[in-house]
Symmetry: C2
Subunit: 143 residues, 2 copies
Amino acid sequence: MGKEIKTAAVRWVEGLEFEAITGSEHRLTLDANVKAGGQNHGPSPMELLLVGLAGCTGMDIVDVLKKKRQEVTGLEVRVEGTRAETYPMVYTDIQVTYVVRGKNVSQKAVEDAIQLSETKYCSASAMLGKAARITSRYEVLPE
Amino acid sequence: MGKEIKTAAVRWVEGLEFEAITGSEHRLTLDANVKAGGQNHGPSPMELLLVGLAGCTGMDIVDVLKKKRQEVTGLEVRVEGTRAETYPMVYTDIQVTYVVRGKNVSQKAVEDAIQLSETKYCSASAMLGKAARITSRYEVLPE
């Protein structure tokens, strides 16, 4: 079996607006915010990196907690990226906050799941972590 | 003025499906593909990194070519990422293809725009380029 390849393409619409289509055949509109010269008709490219990171690690957490037989009823992953002030304005710091809800969910299981995602499974975290300092915190709440 | 902060959050829906909301108040659904245990109800997190990269560099190209007074009538940016075979399965190689359409668009102007994006402006490229080898090619086509 060959290596896995993922694809995406964007097509310019007008201004700084683009329409994207992914290899999995989903479409979305991208745009810059008004301050950056766009019209905010869609998420910005740099926001999408954060969405990708949040989704990637979120899927890991769901998966690992399910394997650990934890009764998770809700999970939210919030991500905040702080950009450098000079070009290329990368994120220098990314803060990830996990809010897990469930029935008697073990704090230890959540910690393990986050650590596995951060250090082993999450491709987005591994990639963005080469450029930014990624830190995380979590809350476990009753259902 | 403080540093620019971007945010995003994802909330678990079911299976590996998440709903995302960005700081710019746009919503999108994320999911894993069927092979990865999802239902392909939305783009995957790793596809979103590619969309972010394509959009980021695409906006730069539009911007720079406009400043260079090139009559661009179309731009497509295609991105292909090849993943490592072992966890965390980062993209090791990312190939970016720019297809520019317009009236007498200068090849030199396109080359300059791509280079400026790759080396100076594009935040996503600068970040993902720390983990993957990013290569690019372009075509300039008549309108």
